[in-house]
């Protein structure tokens, strides 16, 4: 495998959890229901995918279980926000904490394992061979034997973009994201749309989570996301919650991971620092984005719109 193919191969495999999750996050963001609990959704999904996939003996059932679990977790978040009246961001932070606690409890209390849950005999997601296509220079070797979830993610990305841009639901998501009044006036129910968008974000984060636990290695522990959910969320923000933007941002962050992996091979002796590259890339991207935005609105009408307080003072 040439250097470029190798780079692309790693980029693709790092891309899956970020992109699948970010495409979901995009819906939530667009509906003005920022899902900062993507990381937690990924975590519970990873566990569900592994446990169910192993029990059933079919990894695809595991993926579906992961999507269901991710959606359920987003449902918990929705319930907290629209049922209990919690602030979206705070509830998201809480949902992430809960995901860690709940998954640890399940691993220990239900699956009878501790720390890492690594069942034996799990069937992993297949890695299709491309046949003669693998001989295409550069791209062929990069795509050869990638997890089938890579292809699923490509499909999901296309589908999500189409749903957002070309369907009634997508239109309603965008409408709700900009003006509840406008939506209400035509009978579109904002809360309903937001909950739906959150559930979608959870389900797609479920694909990202499942990828981490049953695609390459059948193992789970509460640290396995390594903050990928937050990076995916950052990709949504950086991509301004548009399909192309989100895809581009996800590619950027995946590339940062891939670069970090490659830089480790060149003996720089700064390996811990290289490891931080994706996180640094995220901060830089967010900063660049903010600078661009602030340029654009420098002379604009001052924004006095106030996000209502979460809770009054007691």
């Amino acid at each position: 495998m040439s250097g470029v193919s190798g780079f692309l191969a790693i980029l693709l495999t790092s891309l899956v959890p970020i992109l699948a999750t970010a495409m979901g996050g995009m819906f939530a963001e667009r509906a003005r229901a920022s899902n900062i609990a993507l990381d937690g959704c990924m975590l519970v999904a990873a566990l569900a995918a592994l446990a169910v996939g192993t029990a059933v003996g079919n990894p695809w059932v595991g993926v579906v279980a992961g999507m269901v679990a991710g959606a359920l977790w987003a449902g918990v978040l929705s319930a907290a926000v629209y049922g209990l009246g919690c602030d979206l961001i705070i509830a998201g932070i809480a949902a992430n904490l809960l995901a860690v606690g709940a998954s640890l409890l399940v691993v220990q209390g239900v699956l009878g394992s501790t720390g890492t849950y690594a069942p034996t005999g799990t069937t992993l997601i297949p890695r299709p061979s491309l046949g003669f296509l693998a001989d295409i220079p550069v791209i062929g070797p990069a795509l050869q034997n990638q997890s089938a979830l890579v292809w699923v993610t490509v499909l999901v990305t296309v589908a999500a973009s189409i749903v957002l841009q070309r369907t009634r639901f997508g239109l309603h998501v965008k409408a709700v994201g900009e003006s509840d009044e406008a939506a209400l006036a035509v009978g579109v129910k904002p809360v309903q749309i937001r909950v739906a968008a959150l559930l979608i974000s959870g389900a797609l984060a479920g694909i990202g989570g499942a990828y981490l636990s049953i695609s390459s290695v059948a193992s789970f522990n509460s640290q396995l996301t390594g903050g990928l959910g937050f990076i995916a969320f950052a990709a949504v923000v950086f991509g301004r919650a548009t399909p192309w933007g989100t895809i581009g941002a996800s590619l950027l962050f995946a590339a940062a991971t891939s670069v970090a992996v490659r830089l480790q091979g060149t003996d720089l002796g700064l390996q811990q620092i290289v490891h931080a590259l994706p996180y640094v890339a995220t901060v830089v991207a967010l900063a660049v984005q903010a600078v661009r935005e602030s340029r654009r609105r420098r002379y604009d009408v001052s924004i006095t719109q106030y996000v209502p307080a979460i809770i009054p003072k007691g």
């Binding site: 749903v163 070309r166 369907t167 009634r168 639901f169 239109l171 309603h172 965008k174 409408a175 900009e178 003006s179 009044e181 406008a182 939506a183 209400l184 006036a185 035509v186 009978g187 579109v188 654009r296 609105r297 420098r298 002379y299 604009d300 009408v301 001052s302 006095t304 719109q305 106030y306 209502p308 307080a309 009054p312 003072k313």
Partner: protein
């Protein structure tokens, strides 16, 4: 199933009947046992003061609120309008007083939002674009289906709202203050369109405050006062004077004649202010003005003609691209609000909720927020008792009614909130008061209180700049009236109280499109 049609006085039976509608918000009765009948082909004007209940009544019709009591009949059949979607299905369309559009979506998407033509789950954009194009052509509404709404002028946005109603194939069309934001030319064109609707057999309900307009297009009028119906007549059966009497009630206007003040030193001098928006549009284009001690200067203009931005520049919230602002002798251009305040300026902002107060702090905290720099609230450390005393005093002086000083600001009514703002600003004994839309949303008594306070400030030697879109109010108390249009001062009335008609003409003639 149609039964025997009651023979109506004017021929056809009413297409729309609202009977005994009542709607309360807490203890406030917004609509009280109101009847309304509109026939096909009729343009029915609904008149009344601010807060009379017009919008609420129409919101009941459109399913945006549920009436507490009363029936709605369409073509003689009782209907239950549970949601806007249901209303549209029943053939009821509404153009809202406050636009309900999604700025980043295209015209066509906005028009069909909520009932999009579709193939399966996919949008049928070709169809929606075609329908929008056809409707626009048919009614002479100049909009393109794929323009983004946020790039449209206010008038064009209104056309989108109208298209939205028409696209649903409605038989009842409600227009809530459609002309408030239109230029005279746009208004004229709009009325042609409305006449076209009536000719097509629609029942049109038109809410407006402009008697002249109403007389021009309407066939029938209904007048609401404080939620009750006080008149229901063919338009030619009542004179404008009678209508005005019906709208305001028999009581004469609350304000008595305000004498002129005696101007002294210049307290505010604005020289050649220019402001440019983010998109490079000049919103204020070289404004000069002065305000003297003992003088109220009124600036009038239709919304969106640069008044808001001018006030922001004067009060330091915005840095002008060119020009100077002097408060007394001090040049405060671009130095921020604290400089202007230090120079003796007080500001009653237009955006009372967002700028003028912190809804999640107590009334006490809000009313004393402008006094944090003074020793009234304590020495090196703040003194809770002193703060409490100061707040209580101000609340009494300005008649702020709250359950307690610790009540959250956002739980106050609009009038009391505005009084709190006034209390905070006026109690600093400023040399210059800049106030924008100080009576917007207030009832008659509260508005009168605010005007009295402004005149009192002037009489005690203060300078007042009153920026407002309420002609009546400005004409009644201002010593000088400036009219602003397209970012410029286009007319000035000195040493006399102009008539509302004069001023209105000036506002409209220079108006932006």
């Amino acid at each position: 199933m149609t039964t025997a049609r009651p023979v109506a006085r004017q021929g056809d039976p009413p297409l729309l009947v609202m009977r005994g509608i009542r709607k309360t918000f807490g203890s406030l009765v917004a609509v009280d046992d109101v009847d309304l009948e509109v026939r096909a082909g009729e343009i029915h004007a609904l008149l009344g003061e601010n807060g009379a209940g017009k919008s609420t009544l129409m919101n009941c019709l459109f399913g945006l609120t549920r009436p507490d009591q009363g029936d709605i009949l369409i073509r003689g059949e009782t209907v239950h309008v549970t949601s806007p979607r249901r209303a549209l299905a029943l053939g009821i369309g509404m153009v809202h007083q406050h636009f309900k559009l999604v700025p980043s979506l295209s015209v066509a998407d906005n028009v069909f939002l909520g009932s999009e033509p579709h193939h399966g789950p996919f949008l049928d954009r070709r169809h929606s674009h075609r329908v929008v194009g056809e409707l626009a052509e048919r009614y002479g509404l100049d909009v393109r289906p794929d323009d983004l709404v946020r790039s449209l002028s206010v008038g064009a946005q209104q056309r989108v709202e109208i298209l939205r109603a028409l696209a649903k194939d409605v038989s009842v069309l409600v227009l809530d203050e459609p002309t408030a934001v239109l230029t005279p030319a746009e208004t004229e064109r709009f009325f042609q369109v409305v006449r076209g609707f009536a000719a097509d057999g629609l029942a049109v309900v038109l809410i407006s405050h402009h008697l002249r307009e109403v007389r021009e297009v309407a066939d029938t009028v209904t007048v609401l006062r404080r939620g009750r119906r006080v008149a229901h007549e063919p338009i030619h059966a009542v004179t404008n004077a009678e209508l005005a009497g019906l709208i305001t009630g028999d009581a004469p206007p609350a304000d008595s004649e305000v004498p002129f003040g005696t101007p002294g030193d210049v307290r505010l001098r604005v020289e050649g202010i220019e402001l440019v928006s983010g998109r490079g549009k000049t919103v204020v284009d070289g404004v000069d003005l002065t305000v003297r001690a003992g003088e109220i200067v009124g600036v009038l203009g239709i919304a969106g003609n640069g008044q808001t931005e001018l006030v922001e520049a004067i009060t330091g919230l915005r840095t002008p691209a060119a020009g100077r602002v002097l408060v007394g002798p001090v040049d405060v251009t671009g130095a921020g609000p604290s400089a202007a305040r230090a120079a003796g300026m007080a500001h009653v902002p237009e955006d009372r909720i967002g700028r003028g107060m912190a809804g999640n702090l107590s009334v006490e905290a809000n009313i004393t927020a402008g006094h944090l720099g003074s020793p009234e609230v304590g020495g090196r450390l703040l003194s809770a008792p002193r703060i409490r005393r100061l707040a209580a005093g101000l609340m009494t002086a300005f008649d702020v009614r709250a359950a307690s000083p610790r009540q959250l600001m956002r739980r106050l009514s609009g009038g009391n909130a505005q009084k709190t703002v006034l209390a905070r600003e006026f109690s600093r004994d400023p040399d210059l008061v800049v106030c924008a839309e100080p009576t917007r949303g207030l009832d008659i008594a509260a508005a009168a209180f605010v005007r009295r306070e402004l005149v009192a400030r002037r009489d005690s030697g203060g300078a007042v700049l009153l920026v407002s879109s309420e002609i009546e109010e400005v004409v009644a108390i201002a010593d000088r009236v400036l009219v602003m249009s397209r970012g410029r001062i286009v007319a000035e009335f000195v040493d006399r109280r102009p008539t509302e008609a004069e001023v209105g003409r000036a506002m409209l003639e220079g108006s932006s499109s």
